[in-house]
Symmetry: C2
Subunit: 305 residues, 2 copies
């Protein structure tokens, strides 16, 4: 099985009640690739950076099994930059600065070896760029997973609808599911969204867990109650990385195995938030991942006699 992930590789400037991390490595694709790399390698990424992006980070990603052939490095240009500040309770954040830089005219190009992915993870980007990637695959992937956000629903809804027709799994948060479907009840929202294309809908609710909808079936994966959340940046992308990493590793796209993928996604998300940026994702081991997945099982296990 092989996994191709598309998304940003970038610099972030993050302020939380715990401190200020300046110009640290970020970007959806970075989190996705790192999280997925604990499940299978290589993880093939499609992205773009400027020549300001540190060589040592690229070396580190390679060492973790991330294939950088699809990463464009633009000489004389700067990498995408995002600065944000989280409020005291982490429930909301303000964007302080966004500099598109290389992302402004990003044209994703899939190297020859990338064109037959089993699992294709389309990270949060303009729907047009996500579509451009789909146009280049020469074999329909077994599973296309797409992440998006309210911003694209606001300004590029028809493009989004177009790309959704080719998507198997959509991952969005609860407010976005309500916006996209026009339904408040998530059960009803899922039906509306299924009709747009995605057979599976994953609704991410942050500290409140996540839901998987597929035809009439529903699965709920809890979030692990944590004593300390340091930085929520990248939690959703780490989730996507664990989710697609597990599915690509196993090649099993049944509802039962999707449940496990949600748990491994939640596991990677729960580790991610324990430190600034990608730091916590660097030092994990398969044993740590398994043991935390087990914590999720303990958290919800009960029996009705």
């Amino acid at each position: 099985m092989n996994l191709v992930a598309v998304g940003t590789v970038a610099f972030d400037d993050i302020q939380t009640p715990y401190g200020h991390a300046e110009k640290v490595i970020g970007g959806a694709c970075t989190y996705i690739a790192l999280a997925a790399s604990y499940f299978l390698t290589p993880v093939r990424i499609v992205s773009v950076v400027g020549d300001d992006f540190p060589e040592e980070t690229l070396e580190y990603l390679k060492k973790r099994g991330v294939d950088l052939e699809g990463l464009q490095i633009k000489e004389g240009e700067k990498s995408f930059y995002w600065a944000g500040r989280y409020h005291d309770n982490f429930a909301s954040r303000d964007t302080l600065d966004t500099q598109l830089n290389v992302l402004a005219d990003f044209d994703p190009i899939l190297p020859e070896t990338y064109r037959r992915p089993d699992v294709l993870m389309l990270g949060n980007l303009t729907p047009k760029i996500q579509m451009r990637v789909l146009e280049q695959v020469t074999k329909r992937p077994e599973l296309v997973v797409l992440d998006t956000m309210n911003f694209w629903m606001d300004i590029a809804l028809s493009d989004l609808h177009e790309v959704l027709k080719q998507v198997d799994v959509l991952t969005i948060n609860d407010e976005e599911a309500r916006q996209l479907s026009g339904e408040h009840s998530l059960v009803k929202a899922a039906k509306v969204i299924h009709a747009m294309g995605p057979k599976y809908l994953v609704i991410k609710k942050g500290e409140h867990g996540s839901l998987l909808f597929h035809r009439g079936d529903i699965f709920f994966a809890p979030a692990l109650p944590l004593a300390e959340v340091i930085d929520p940046t990248g939690a959703g992308d780490s989730f996507a990385g664990g989710f697609t990493g597990w599915l690509a590793k196993t090649g099993d796209y049944s509802f039962e195995n999707m449940k496990r993928a949600l748990i491994y996604g939640s596991t990677m998300g729960s580790y991610c938030v324990e430190a600034f940026g990608i730091e916590r994702l660097k030092g994990l081991t398969p044993a740590m991942i398994r043991s935390r997945a087990q914590e999720f099982e303990n958290l919800v296990r009960f029996d009705i006699p």
Copy 2:
């Protein structure tokens, strides 16, 4: 085992996006007693109404096994009345009117047969009234469960602290847990609240489920995703009724059995919101309750191979 429940029996006026229910039967103790009555009878209630309260409702409660000896009926006075309007998404509500009436000078009196409860459920009331009840028991109950709200934290915090010293299980929502403890992390909040008295803390998060904390252990009970929520009024009290009803029925106060109590509480809450007021709680059967509890199990069941 026997269960004594204290709280309001009242009239509600409820406006939701689905309609307007005028002067329907409500009150925390009504929901608690009805929900608990599916697990064991009699449910002994301590409350007060005016002579405007319908005889047929009292007859119905008796028929369901609710012992009304502790219900004071004040001649020439009116029952407690609350009017509220839910916003479109049910996430918040406005109180439109509150008429304390008989509640203004309510002095709870426990009949002789009520003074040795195994499980004592202190529904949401002023902490002083909750304390007055505790003063009248002649044997320490095996389990004292207390429900309260932010309002009492705002205006009667020291009274609340006083009564919490005698409480085994506190049930509050997540914002209230944060307010009471001064901690944002619920894991940290639980430690602070345990030190105030309650060995068990149940945090109710509405559509996001509930959490049980006990020493280092945590259990999460999901909420059932529902296609249609008609009226959330009484969901928390129905939860309390299912929770204490199950515990009083089984007499088992272990962490494992508390998990089941949370699930039965969630079950009763999930039924409650499917119709206005207490309507949905009237026509249930043990088979329906069991089958819905099973739905909760299906919702979170997964295996890590």
